[in-house]
């Protein structure tokens, strides 16, 4: 199973990095979203995989590590806020500047 998680993290990173390097804001933002997927899964996996042991007292004696879960929760929320801001900003740049390029070149 570990290999599945590792390859999933790799794939998410792949799409994230590739899209992040595109010339328009929208794919770039999708890329960042994928990167945050990748890192959230990574952060979670770094606490190691423990199926059927949600860290709820009374339900198990050998729980999954709750701390990475809590950290990922915080990270998810923060990256949501960041995404909202950059989406709005790309919208603003498009409305003010006429196009959604991010590579500093003028629109053709």
């Amino acid at each position: 199973m570990e290999m599945l998680f590792a390859t999933a993290i790799g794939a998410l990173t792949f799409t994230g990095v590739y899209l992040m390097l595109r010339l328009r804001s929208f794919p770039m933002i999708l890329g960042l979203t994928f990167l945050s997927y990748a890192v959230n899964l990574f952060l979670f996996a770094a606490g190691r995989l423990t199926p059927d042991a949600a860290p709820i007292v009374g339900t198990t004696d050998a729980p999954a590590d709750p701390l990475p879960q809590a950290l990922v929760l915080t990270a998810i929320v923060i990256s949501f806020g960041m995404t909202a801001v950059i989406v709005m900003m790309s919208l603003g740049a498009r409305l003010e500047g006429g196009d959604d390029r991010v590579d500093g070149q003028d629109a053709p």
């Binding site: 199973m1 570990e2 290999m3 599945l4 998680f5 590792a6 390859t7 999933a8 993290i9 790799g10 794939a11 990173t13 792949f14 799409t15 990095v17 590739y18 899209l19 390097l21 595109r22 010339l23 328009r24 929208f26 794919p27 770039m28 979203t33 899964l41 979670f44 996996a45 770094a46 995989l49 423990t50 949600a54 709820i56 007292v57 009374g58 729980p63 999954a64 590590d65 709750p66 701390l67 990475p68 879960q69 990922v72 929760l73 998810i76 929320v77 806020g81 995404t83 909202a84 801001v85 989406v87 709005m88 919208l91 603003g92 498009r94 409305l95 959604d100 991010v102 590579d103 500093g104």
Partner: protein
């Protein structure tokens, strides 16, 4: 008066002339004069002591860690220079008062001049090398202002910049040199350094220190090959040229060499570099001076040449040569400052300084002519003037150094004669020029200052021992560290070789001048490097390189920045990992299972499909959403129900927001990047994927090196934090402070969205584009009534679910965050179903208040503990039974969670409202 005060006075009084200028030009000049005079008198009060060989010192510790102290030391050498600076400064102030036109702000000019004077005085009085550096760079800065005085003329600005570049740049080399010197000498005090010649010369760092220091000195004193800036600095008003570029600033380099003479002189490096530079400068500059057509340019190059002479004398390393150097410093300052002022008088009277247009001024301006004659004959080295004295001394020393040196020195003397006489002959003698507009002698205000100097030239030539004698002795003794009693006389007897060299130079010089027309034609025909052009080319080249480099780094916009960053991260990470031992993990692997493997397959497919199909934005967004939901499934499978819940909720809101935003963006991404670029990006992406994937694998397959702290959270979740859901107790209690920060991030995000919308709606460009937008099929979809009704029915259900999630969060998956999101999603769906406008109109409350309330509730809950003498966020709890619900806990943590709830709700609602406001702009134009 303390030497520190002497140096400080010009700075302290610098603002006086600017203030006094309101009362008129005389007041300004008097104010500046009074300041200079006070400093001068303060200096003179030490004359008896200093001339008898006693140094006056003052010391104030400033930055001991640097070895920087404000220490001042007034000895013979410092006295000579300070006397020149302050004495000639007084004359310059008088001259400038009458020289500058009524339109020019004299007060400001004198303010700059005084600051320069202070900096210069500071250089020669400092006994600490770092203090000296401070004053050194200050002279560069103040001279920048003075040279660039006529701001409207490009040559002033360029000249000022060039002077700053050369002398300021040299100053930077000097900094390095001085720091090395201080280190190898073991002290930053000059008075100590000069006693440590043996240690200094024994150090391997001696040569670098010497070279760096000499770069500083040579740039300042315009020695070859740094000589080119000085003539261009002549764009300055004449008082500045007379002061900075003949008497004072350009002598700072000489001062420094004299100051450090005991530390370095006598070493072969010193002798070779300094004398060779001096000789080269003398010759090159003298030759150029002879051919100049501008009076001030001629004087400028002659100054360079004479500075070379003094450099040469200091380089010889003998006490007699150093004595001659002191003598020539005095002589040169007196005749050259006078000549500059006289050139300025000619310029004023004839409205030109071009020697080709001047001539025959002697008759119209007899007084000016008389003064100029004495001064330029002194420069030519004609007895009985002081220039003769020092030239004889120079030739004597040259003759002692061998025939080649003597020949070069004589050649220099020859040129000196030639250009001095040319100055005199071509400006004042010959036929008066008709085109000159009735030139005549100026009033005493202008001629008084040069007259005083010319009187000194005469007096010191006729009675050298009575005038310059004590000064030269004191300065030379202080320079060399040995008691010197120079015998200054015009007549050394017939057996002195200098006499014959001098005669030869004079005769040949006259002949050279006689051959002027032919030589001038030859000069004009010879191609020669123009130093300014070279400097400009170098500077332009440097700037162009800088621009190219900067463009290369900055020009690619965000994609290039991110590509460079990714490559850097990969390279640095790989290097870090590979450069240390790594033991693979030994943790037992989980067996492969079918259901998760299926989820994995879909997730991989969706992820890679997003990359492949990203040009269709709607599709890409959809795939992104699917990926996010599959991620939630992965969380759920590996025992993270809270995460799964949150991931789903956040995913829904995020994708919906992006969906809405897509209404305002193009639907497709055009194919713009060339194949090589795509290949590069693919390679980067693949490398990054390999990196994160294998790192994740390495981590998952090993156990932590130390017991994780989360075992404490697990153990304390119930007894300590009063909840069974350890994830929730971490979020609202153990690490509640993270959550506190997290909701603030979310709140700020909403505020930014709001502020951005405000600015877009107030921008004409943005609203025009909005109005022109076709919001397309996405939102143009008519809102099916059925859905709307169904969703409206759903709202109370959703709110109940939210309440439920909120209440049970502490013990089971849920909590304020998810509850807030669910509420927000319910409202968001509502809004989608009923359309932007209505929903917006329904917004009865200000979402800002929600965010604020959330932050304040969370803060207040956390701070309540302070009232009980406990730290922020310390929780207390009790259990409560509500009918119809399971037992739940009423903890302060729940109140904190309420803050989270409000903040999340407010943030999401505000974000929606914001986009809806933009949408309204497009809607308003639609018919109906």
């Amino acid at each position: 008066m303390s030497p520190a005060l002497i140096a400080a006075l010009p700075f302290l009084g610098a603002l006086l002339p600017a203030l006094a200028a309101r009362a008129g030009r005389n007041a300004a000049a008097l104010a500046a004069g009074a300041v200079s005079l006070a400093a001068f008198l303060g200096l003179m009060s030490h004359a008896p002591a200093v001339l008898s060989g006693t140094a006056v010192t003052a010391r104030l510790d400033w930055v001991p860690a640097l070895g920087l102290s404000a220490s001042f030391r007034l000895d013979g050498l410092a006295f000579l220079f300070a006397g020149l600076i302050l004495g000639i400064g007084l004359l310059i102030i008088l001259y400038a008062r009458f020289y500058l036109s009524e339109k020019e702000p004299l007060g400001r000019f004198l303010t700059s001049l005084l600051m320069f004077q202070g900096a210069m005085t500071g250089i020669v009085l400092s006994d600490n090398i770092l203090m000296l550096l401070i004053f050194w760079e200050l002279t560069s800065l103040t001279s920048f202002l003075l040279i660039g005085w006529s701001q409207d003329r490009p040559e002033s600005r360029q000249g000022a910049r060039m002077a700053l570049a050369v002398t300021g740049g040299g100053g930077l080399a000097l900094i390095a040199g001085m720091l090395i010197l201080g280190q190898i000498a073991g002290s930053n005090d000059i008075s100590v350094i000069v006693t440590r010649a043996a240690e200094i010369q024994a150090s391997p760092l001696c040569l670098p220190a010497l070279i760096l220091i000499l770069i500083g000195a040579f740039t300042k004193s315009a020695q070859f090959p740094f000589h080119f800036w000085l003539p261009h600095a002549m764009a300055a008003p004449t008082p500045v040229s007379a002061y900075l570029h003949s008497a004072t600033m350009v002598k700072a380099g000489l001062y420094l060499m004299a100051r450090l003479w005991p530390a370095f002189s006598g070493t072969p490096e010193w002798t070779v570099i300094v004398t060779a530079t001096g000789l080269a400068t003398i010759l090159i500059a003298a030759k150029i001076a002879f051919f100049q057509t501008d009076l001030k340019a001629l004087l400028a190059y002659s100054t360079v040449s004479h500075l070379g002479l003094i450099t040469f004398l200091l380089g010889l390393g003998t006490p007699a040569a150093a004595t001659a150097a002191m003598l020539h410093i005095l002589a040169h300052a007196s005749f050259k400052a006078a000549l500059f002022m006289l050139a300025g008088i000619v310029d004023h009277a004839a409205h030109t300084r071009d020697l080709r247009r001047l001539g025959g001024l002697a008759r119209a301006m007899p007084l000016t002519f008389a003064l100029a004659a004495i001064a330029s004959l002194s420069m030519a080295g004609i007895p009985p003037l002081n220039g003769f004295l020092s030239k004889e001394a120079m030739l004597t020393e040259a003759a002692l150094s061998g025939p080649l040196v003597a020949a070069v020195a004589t050649l220099a003397a020859l040129f000196s004669v030639a250009y001095s006489l040319r100055f005199l002959a071509h400006a004042f003698l010959g036929q008066p020029r008709a085109q000159l507009d009735h030139p005549r002698d100026p009033g005493p205000g202008l001629w008084a200052a040069p007259a005083v100097l010319v009187a000194i030239v005469l007096a010191s030539g006729l009675a050298p021992m009575a005038t310059f004698g004590p000064l030269v002795d004191a300065a030379a003794s202080a320079t060399t560290g040995t008691a010197i009693h120079a015998h200054l006389t015009l007549w050394h007897g017939l057996q002195a070789p200098a006499l014959y060299l001098s005669l030869a130079a004079f005769g040949a010089g006259l002949m050279t001048l006689g051959a002027w027309p032919r030589l001038a034609a030859l000069w004009a025909a010879t191609p020669r490097p123009d130093a300014k052009a070279l400097f400009d080319i170098a500077l332009a080249g440097l700037t162009a390189t800088a621009r190219r480099l900067t463009r290369a780094l900055q020009g690619g916009g965000l994609p290039r920045a991110l590509a460079i960053a990714t490559a850097t991260l990969l390279a640095a990470g790989t290097w870090a990992f590979l450069s240390a031992p790594h033991a693979p993990g030994t943790r037992a692997l989980l067996p492969l299972q079918a259901a998760p493997a299926a989820v994995w397959a879909v997730l991989m497919a969706a992820t890679l499909a997003t990359a492949a199909l990203h040009r269709d934005r709607l599709l890409a967004l959809l795939l992104t959403g699917i990926t996010g939901l599959l991620l939630a499934a992965a969380f759920a499978w590996t025992s993270a129900p809270d995460l799964a819940l949150t991931q789903v909720a956040v995913e829904v809101v995020a994708i919906l927001l992006m969906l809405l935003a897509l209404n305002f963006l193009p639907r497709r991404t055009p194919a713009e990047s060339a194949p090589p670029r795509r290949l590069r990006d693919l390679a980067l992406a693949a490398a990054a994927a390999l990196g994160t994937g294998s790192l994740a694998y390495a981590l998952m397959t090993r156990d932590a090196a130390f017991a994780p702290i989360s075992s404490f959270h697990w153990a304390q979740s119930k007894p300590g934090a009063g909840g069974t859901n350890a994830v929730n107790t971490i979020i609202v209690d153990f690490r509640g402070f993270d959550t506190y920060g997290e909701i603030i991030v979310l709140g700020i995000a909403a505020l930014i969205l709001f502020a951005l919308a405000e600015s877009l709606l107030s921008s004409r460009t943005a609203t025009a584009r909005l109005a022109a937008l076709d919001t397309g099929p996405n939102s143009g979809d008519p809102h099916p009534t059925m859905t709307a009704v169904a969703l409206r029915f759903l709202l109370p259900v959703a709110l109940t679910v939210a309440l439920y999630l909120f209440l049970r969060g502490h013990n089971l998956p849920g909590g304020g965050f998810v509850a807030g999101l669910v509420t927000a999603i319910a409202l968001l769906l509502q809004y989608l179903a009923s359309g932007y406008v209505r929903s917006d109109a329904r917004r009865r409350f200000d979402s800002h208040a929600f965010i604020a309330a959330g932050v304040l509730i969370a803060t207040a809950t956390g701070a309540a503990a302070l009232g009980f003498g406990l730290p922020f966020l310390t929780s207390g709890y009790t259990y409560v039974h509500l009918p119809g619900l399971e037992q739940f806990e009423l903890a302060t943590a729940a109140l904190f969670d309420l803050g989270v709830f409000f903040c999340v709700l407010g943030a999401v609602l505000l974000s929606i409202a914001t986009i809806s406001r933009l949408a309204q702009q497009t809607r308003e134009r639609e018919p109906g």
